[in-house]
Amino acid sequence: MEPMRPSPARPYSPAGQRQQANLGDILERVLDRGVVIAGDIRVNLLDIELLTIKLRLIIASVDTAKEMGIDWWEHDPWLTGRDRHLLDENRRLRHRLAELEDGVEPHVPIRGRVTEELPPEGYGRRG
């Protein structure tokens, strides 16, 4: 793929965006970044955080990725900050979720259940 050249004159050209942005780039931005709003939203933040993490697990569970040592950055101190933050956040959210499901704070609107189980082996692969 050719390296992208910036065009400062029209920085957000939608046509350019469609050409440049592949789905992986878009997905990691819209799922992992952007403003998260806590509060009385209909689709609960906790659910989405957990779904996002689950999705990442699905994507990362590809055998070839493991063979390539795809977890290398977890041993690389300069890249682990965010991951550690994510793990902590995940732990905190699970804890909070458990509290909520136990009815500690029943006024917070959470409906349904969130599964914490990993998907079955091979789940999410597309052939």
């Binding site: 400062p8 957000y12 990691e28 709003i37 939203i41 609960n44 795809i70």
Partner: protein, 259 residues
């Protein structure tokens, strides 16, 4: 309106409200909700797709997720073309306009602060790949040849050990290289974020991704940033610049909800 929800894409100041022609998620038209000097860009979406329970299923359907992500991004990019934009996380759905208005009222100061930080700036994404097999030194270049007397098994083990070691070396080299690139680019940016390298399934490439960075750059310095990136190109490492993006990586409100 019990069967529709209000899907929120982005928030901006109400200084320059563009008329948007793009379709959003589920091919829905986009409209604005203006409140407290802020603008929310929203679509009405069917709750049989975007309600809590349906989302649980659809978020795991990669085709649906991909379409929805593209729709979301299309709107965010179109808005960001006109005015500083705070992109909202995917599938943030409210039950009505009133809730969105309340959000804009309550988080007014936070949004204004975020928007002032990103005004006049763009996000560039930089990914660096290496091709491990090309650059890896052959084991024989680093290891003395196995003694002639040693059996085939010993020779195999030695080769294998050397292969593993050179793989580790390659990772270390790649990591140092990524660090150098990141530091050079950070010097030209207002802020930077390192993101997790993408899985090959997501990147669509089998090369090792050694850097996945986001850089918030003053718009007039974009050309300088790109030139610096060109200067960092070299044999064995493939640098890819994407963007400019709406500042997805640099729009964060405080996590706590107001009381």
């Amino acid at each position: 309106m019990a069967d529709t929800g209000i899907y929120l894409y982005a928030v901006t100041l109400d200084l320059d409200v563009p008329h948007l022609d793009v379709k959003g998620v589920a091919n829905r038209p986009v409209r604005t909700i203006i409140q407290a000097e802020l603008v929310a860009y929203v679509s009405e979406v069917p709750l049989d797709q975007f309600g809590e329970e349906p989302l649980r299923r659809s978020m795991e359907d990669l085709d649906w997720l991909g379409e929805t992500a593209r729709g979301h991004h299309r709107v965010v990019a179109a808005v960001a073309e006109h005015t500083p934009t705070a992109p909202i996380r995917l599938v943030t759905v409210y039950s009505g306009d009133d809730q969105v208005r309340r959000l804009l009222d309550q988080r007014h100061d936070d949004f204004v602060q975020v928007l002032s930080q990103i005004a006049g700036r763009v996000e560039w994404g930089v990914k660096a790949y290496v091709h491990p097999t090309e650059d890896q030194p052959t084991p024989t270049a680093r290891e003395p040849a196995a003694p002639a007397a040693a059996g085939a098994g010993t020779a195999y083990l030695k080769r294998r050990q050397a292969g593993l070691r050179s793989r580790e070396d390659a990772w270390r080299d790649a990591s140092e290289q990524a660090q150098r690139i990141h530091h050079a680019l950070t010097a030209l940016a207002v802020a930077s974020h390192l993101h997790r390298p993408q899985d090959p399934q997501l990147s669509g490439r089998s090369d090792w991704m050694i850097l996945n960075g986001a850089y918030l750059v003053d718009e007039p310095r974009s050309a300088e940033f790109a030139a610096a990136l060109d200067g960092l190109r070299g044999p064995g490492v493939d640098l890819q610049l994407t963007g400019p993006w709406a500042p997805y990586s640099f729009a964060e409100l405080d996590a706590e909800a107001p009381p």
